[in-house]
Subunit: 557 residues, 2 copies
């Protein structure tokens, strides 16, 4: 399809749909392009909505990147808002569309069709779910409603159900507006895509900032008053007062119209597409949150609904629909968020996912500085890397910290795309100057630490394993090798204290028959202590990864 009078129809007018429309026009000045959306707005910044509610982004219009009139004037693209596509007839190559203003059904013929219907928030059918002031956040209309309720000053208490990225962003932005927020998560940890140890670092931060976090407890039902406004939430274990509830328990691909038309969906319940974004039905493409991806690490289908991926898929579908050839091979599940000044990001697999996918893994938790220690404004970050023991390739990374983490996660995402080994990452020629990095960037330090473990040069143990083993009564010595002052400022309950500079001399105070786990502030000195103890003839010694900086189980003085 590359000439006059051909018709490209796109269903969906947000990220993937409008990117496909704009790219299609750049591919051909002649094709007729029509976009249908059942929403009032198109091309809006879904990811910016929590910040709009939090007053970080002041104007609604800033969220709306483009209006239909712009697309008509600049690109000769017809965008019909408040028009819901209700059926696809693949045999006749037609789409049936309902005009939501008039109720009229219209039929349009297409030569090529791109489905970009996005995802819908999951609304669990709990008692009281239809009460007022229970919201999901997906559209501009949702954001405006939530914001105006907050603006009214009537919201003292809010419950946010679900602790994914939207849940956490809402918890922050509502808190910024003076609302007391309780975050409720059914699972045993917040941030389900992350490992528990990294999620606990984020949870500590939320708690510090005044958000009450409840895990292992889900919403059972909602209470309301006579005016039908929500007043409270009952979990299995408690009643929480609530003038507002944000449901952020997940989203699911919006695929009804596709399934009805005989388009296949995969195990993820999103539409199956090949690298060209083609569905199983000729001339029909699917892109964005309604479509499935391939995970570049596992090679298996994955569903990662993100604006960044949507834009890339939309572009590829448009090129192919207009007779070109482009491919999109897959995703790493790279995600990032900012919550109360803490940056949180992940790419590739977390340790739990890697084990589940069948890998034999080695992991390391490494605290580091985001820039040179002596440069003003230098801040800490904590990196967790997970590698495949057999191939020595990196499988994924999680990073949390007030310092700069986005560049480190992007570097790792890039390296993962090319199947990098941990050793290759440790040798990358990254940019160094004091305002930007340490001479050996945090990523390089982290890769070296993990490589030392992979090669058996050092032996570490994650804090979570230490607490698990202590809880089941394992007989090991927990050895704090920090200075007297550090030890007094807070140490792990039950630990022994010998400062590093006295360790060689005092090693004989230690019981040689017991395993020793050393810790310091961040892990480096603890690892050095292991070497001293090994030289002194101790055999069962390990250092605690990330040490006190990664320890989220409390300290005593």
């Amino acid at each position: 399809m590359s000439n006059t009078s051909k018709h490209l129809i796109i269903i969906g007018g947000v990220a993937a749909g409008m990117k496909a429309a704009a790219k299609a026009r750049r591919e051909s000045q002649y094709v007729k392009i029509t976009v249908f959306t059942d929403e009032e707005h198109i091309s809006y910044a879904g990811c910016g909505m929590p910040y709009f509610i939090g007053d970080v982004i002041k104007e609604k219009k800033k969220l709306i990147i483009r209006e239909p009139a712009y697309f008509k004037a600049m690109h000769n693209i017809d965008v019909l808002t408040l028009h819901r596509a209700t059926a696809i007839n693949a045999r006749l190559k037609q789409v049936v569309v309902k005009n939501l203003k008039t109720g009229q059904d219209l039929t349009f013929s297409y030569d090529k069709l791109i489905i970009a219907t996005g995802a819908l928030p999951i609304v669990p059918p709990l008692p009281g779910i239809s009460l007022d002031n229970i919201f999901t956040l997906r559209t501009v209309a949702d954001a405006v409603q939530i914001k105006s309720l907050v603006d009214s000053g009537k919201v003292k208490n809010a419950v946010v159900a679900g602790s994914g990225f939207i849940g956490l962003e809402m918890a922050e932005n509502l808190s910024l507006r003076g609302v007391k927020v309780v975050l409720v998560e059914l699972l045993g940890q917040i941030l389900p895509p992350f490992d528990e140890d990294m999620a606990r670092l984020v949870q500590s931060h939320l708690t510090e900032k005044g958000v009450e976090v409840i895990t292992s407890d889900g919403v059972k039902d909602f209470e309301g008053n006579r005016e039908n406004y929500v007043t409270g939430v009952n979990t299995g274990k408690r009643r929480l007062p609530a003038d507002m509830v944000i449901l952020s328990v997940g989203i699911s691909p919006n695929t009804g119209i596709a399934i009805d038309a005989g388009i296949k969906v995969g195990a993820t319940r999103a539409i199956t597409v090949n690298e060209r974004m083609e569905t199983n039905v000729p001339d029909i493409y699917a892109v964005g949150d309604c479509a499935e991806n391939t995970h570049l690490i596992t090679g298996k289908p994955a569903w990662v609904a993100l604006g960044s991926t949507a834009a890339k898929m939309g572009r590829v579908a448009a090129i192919n629909a207009l007779g070109g050839n482009d491919t999109f091979n897959g995703v790493l599940g790279t995600v990032i968020m900012k919550v109360f000044g803490l940056n949180v990001a992940k790419t590739g697999l977390c340790e739990r996912e890697a084990i589940k996918a069948g890998y034999t893994v080695e992991s390391a938790i490494i605290p580091a500085s985001d820039k040179s220690h002596y440069y003003p404004g230098c801040k800490d970050i904590i990196i967790k890397l997970v590698a495949d023991v057999n191939t020595k390739k990196l499988l994924g990374a999680q990073i949390v910290g007030e310092g700069v983490i986005d560049k480190r996660i992007d570097v790792i995402a890039t390296a993962l795309s090319f199947g990098a080994t941990v050793d290759q990452i440790s040798k990358l020629d990254l940019a160094y100057a004091p305002p930007y990095a340490m001479a050996m960037d945090a990523i390089i330090v982290a890769a070296n630490v993990l490589n030392n473990k992979l090669l058996g040069r050092t032996e570490g143990i994650l804090p979570q394993k230490v607490i698990e083993r202590r809880n089941r009564g394992d007989n090991f010595i927990l050895l704090d090798i920090r200075t007297e002052m550090e030890f007094k400022s807070g140490h792990i309950k039950g630990s022994l204290h010998i400062p590093l500079d006295a360790l060689a001399a005092r090693a004989n105070e230690l019981d040689r028959t017991r395993e020793i786990i050393t810790y310091c502030r961040a892990g480096l000195r603890a690892s050095h202590a292991c070497r001293i103890l090994k030289s002194a003839g101790f055999e069962k010694v390990k250092y605690m990864d990330g040490s006190i900086m990664a320890w989220t189980y409390g300290l005593e003085k």
Copy 2:
């Protein structure tokens, strides 16, 4: 060498040397380690010194990362400061060292020797060079001297000779202290490792911030007063008053002692080493600024003297010297600096270097936002990418801007390490959330723009080519397709104006026999204008890369 009584000697106590020492101790608790340095301080942050002079870093002691006593106490490493290694006897495996305090010559035997003698600033033998207050900046002593002179309030005018990174950092930090700075560069552009078009963007910024920049003019001699203080600088073309001169015309590898010992140096005049950091002489390694590297793009010897590389080389040499096996394959020449709030970075080859290395290149200049447009604090960056037309692989990138560039240069450096094509870079799964990036990150947008040029989808021309062609009287139409208001706020002299939304209707006003070059603010609309003109039957149309944002040749109203 892995056991008791073996002796590792390291000559040089800054980045590479001390990293090698510390890593060697981690490899073996038994080896005897001695470091000699002719300086007073070790392990100092050379890259932080301009910021110390500028009072950004307040205390000298912050620059000194570790003291000799620390290395003795913590790592049992003997560091002898003010001890200059004067000769290596490779046959006897001995080093002769002069104690600079006593004048005594001492001889030490080594089993393994690591040379980390660094580089020395180039001091051109010009008339008046021995006057007081003419400085190079390489050691802590240099920094302290310069800072105390500035602190004295006696410096009104300074001339900085040489416009590499140190020169620019000194120009900024002296300006911050209230000194009037003139930057003098012999070449036709500042920042010699960069392309002229990108360097001109930096030069404009320096000028805006009050630094006078003189190019194509070098220092000829210095004038002084009776007290032997410098008072002025004569270039070929003018006399500049100066109470202080900073010479930053380059550095050269400090290899005298190595050459005398029969150790080979390469074409770069730095010591030739293999991937294991071994020199041609058994048991002698060389690391850091005195040693040569391999350029990962060209595969040829390169000399890139940077703290980040020094640390990696030191680590590899230590592992190998202690009987292990590690390799360092080479560098991309990744560099970054901050100057008056402008970030400037490069990795891989610039266009000039790529052409010189024999590549057929395509390049693109792409302005972009560092985060989502609607997120507060979003800033511009300008990216130049250079690719190999034949393989479609990226060869290098340069980025300049007040926005975040370090992560983009690091992502590209990582991609270059794995031989990425431009298309692969455009599909990277980089982290997206409004505070960190656009949905399609600046790098992805830039790769798409360059890919469009590589695939012949679009045809662009760099601003520098436009000015060159105009200066030689080429008969093309320069077409400004921005809005009336934008045009009036400043446009390129001699350009025609037809707003984009009127272009299709008014295309027949244009002379079809002449080549047309379109421009807008950043290049996107100009590229769209080309498509409109092509649809209207125009054949010779190009858009100007980066358009007004990359245009450094002045505007008229």
